[in-house]
Symmetry: C2
Subunit: 360 residues, 2 copies
DNA sequence: CTGAAAGCGCTAACAT
DNA sequence: ATGTTAGCGCTTTCAG
């Protein structure tokens, strides 16, 4: 019932080794006639290599893992497309796992990916503020790397990881400056969840630009929220209870969409009464009512670059220096310096922003 | 360097078999003390099972494959979330592969998933009109199933597959009837790509409702297009060159978004000058300008049901029993009658539709 | 260039 | 209840 390499070999009248070499061997050392015969009988038999067996024998799989919050979120959807296309080009299959921003789930999923011996793991989400959670994740990732697994982070994961970094802080600062340039002085901000580094990073950018301009941003003007429609909506509602901003900065597009919905529900005109901006430039941002001013993050490219980085040959280097995750101090146990790819972002002005009401 | 089960067994002072049973065995036949000892040393050593070896020994993997056009398309994103959550609950990892609606790529990917010995394959996309392509896909899927792989289709894939079917035809008919009810008589339709069955299915529903009402739909009023923003936009542009519909039916939301963009670019008001409807009810449909009237397809549920179906134990040879969609013809080679789950859709009226201009 | 044979890490009979 | 021992299908030394 199951066609094995042995069947192919027998039918071609060659040994197992020859069949293996002819079909999947990297070497070119099989005679043309035999090779052709092997390929022919493989086709006739409908032979398909048994990946788990190959993995066991080769001590290496043909799979890539992508860890994200939610596949259905367009932010991650686009990243995943970039990553899985790059992976496909390298002959790898992509395993996508959602963590819903839960460090425990993330830890479990890292272990699963490790158990599968995925060639590499792309951390598209992650980057928690919680030190204990981070420590546990680092430990799991360390074990994975100790066995040869490659890890690339798309978020701030500490200096020991290869990473692809969009200019979160800088992008948020530029975005804020654009708003300041329009004349806004009263701001409200809806970052992502407080437990994620990326939220704080982007918020930092906003603060930076505001400080520059001497504009204050009190705690009453900041309302953390999940990266979701409902999160953005509810946070906006709470903000409006206690302040009257002329500009609302949502630090994710999905959150901005929720904010727009809340504003619309209250009969406020955007941008007439209040300007709204998002972050990420997800595909539908340009199609909203009104079209959303935002920061373009090169999502697809991030995914692709991450895979490129992950698959790039790594000098296994320094004899006598296999890592040691425990002694965080001292001479770095990892002689291989992590690669970092910085990707610029770009502010995209659309219809959701205008000078504040009363400006002239 | 690599911790194996053997290491764990040795450290616990038990045999390999006992360690295996204590850690991953389904049986309960390990003494409490030993089991505890094994678990303890596994933890101390940081042991992680080696999935490829388990797969080889068990002749079964813990992975699921999802085949779709594009992960970044929200339609598939949401389906994938449903599927991968259900898979995760069953302890499976999800491999997502994009085919970009290309049958050849799809064939290759089916083979890859087969080679990986994914437990089941969910065909979220697929369903081609081309008979030759379909034959080749069926052949590959047949080989996969012959080895015990399970296949569930979310599109029309012929009667031999387990399937989860949204009411595409019916949904399109209902949607069209809603438009007729508003008074529209001049229609234009942008289905999906002509090579996909789902496009024709939905178009059929439109035709059915139109016929009922005695409204004609000439070939000049139908313009096939890829399921994409640009596809919808360009098709709309072409349609407007040769007709002046009062209602534009895009048979996908992403296409409808493109249509809205084109209309806006031409200075046409929606729904004042022309009503626009989509299909799918992707997350951002409600947030567009204007909010899109569409047909809600239970995407997440489809993904989850598909996995449920795929994982449901299958009587290997059970004669008689559940309904059989095929039995008009011969006694098929497959005695197991395919399961079919039909899922209803629902028309959602939003701001993009209104009575035609001039109606009173 | 080709073949024989030793595993890769784990599970599942089959003993005991 | 626990241990012994074959493999699972493939790659890869190592011989010839």
């Amino acid at each position: 019932m199951r066609v094995t390499l042995g069947d192919v070999a027998r039918r071609a009248g060659v040994s197992l080794a020859t069949a293996s070499r002819a079909l999947n061997g990297s070497d070119r050392n099989v005679g043309d006639v035999l090779a052709a015969r092997v390929r022919a009988s493989a086709k006739e038999l409908g032979y398909l290599p048994y990946a788990p067996a190959q993995a066991l024998a080769r001590a290496s799989t043909a799979t890539l893992g992508v860890l994200l919050h939610d596949v259905a979120d367009p932010y991650f959807g686009v990243i995943t497309r970039g990553a899985s296309e790059a992976a496909a080009e390298a002959g790898l299959l992509t395993m996508v796992v959602s963590t819903f921003a839960d460090p425990d789930l993330e830890l479990r999923n890292i272990r699963m990916l490790h158990a599968q011996r995925a060639r590499a793991i792309v951390l598209a989400a992650s980057g928690y503020v919680d030190e204990e959670a981070t420590r546990r994740l680092d430990e799991a990732l360390g074990a994975y790397r100790a066995e040869g697994g490659r890890v690339v982070a798309l978020t701030d994961h500490g200096p020991s990881y290869d990473s692809v970094r969009p200019a979160n802080r800088r992008g948020a600062a530029d975005l804020t400056r654009a708003l300041l340039g329009l004349g806004h002085r009263r701001f409200a901000v809806v970052p992502g969840p407080e437990r994620l580094r990326v939220s704080l990073d982007r918020l930092l950018g906003v603060r930076e630009a505001l400080d520059e301009a001497g504009v204050a941003l009190g705690p009453e003007a900041v309302e953390f929220a999940e990266f979701s429609h409902e999160g953005g909506r509810a946070a906006t509602a709470r903000l409006l209870e206690r302040s009257r901003p002329t500009a609302l900065i949502a630090l994710s597009d999905v959150g901005a969409v929720g904010a727009l919905a809340e504003l619309r529900g209250r009969g406020l005109d955007v941008p007439g009464d209040i300007s709204v901006v998002g972050f990420d430039d997800i595909p539908c941002a340009a199609q909203l009512a009104p079209a959303l001013t935002t920061v373009r993050v090169p999502l697809e490219r991030m995914g692709a670059e991450a895979v490129r980085l992950a698959l790039e040959p790594r000098p296994r280097t320094a004899p006598g220096g296999i890592e040691d995750a425990t002694d965080g101090l001292s001479a770095g146990p990892d002689t291989r310096s992590p690669r970092v790819v910085d990707l610029p972002t770009e502010t995209v002005l659309r219809a959701s922003t205008a000078p504040p009401p009363g400006a002239f």
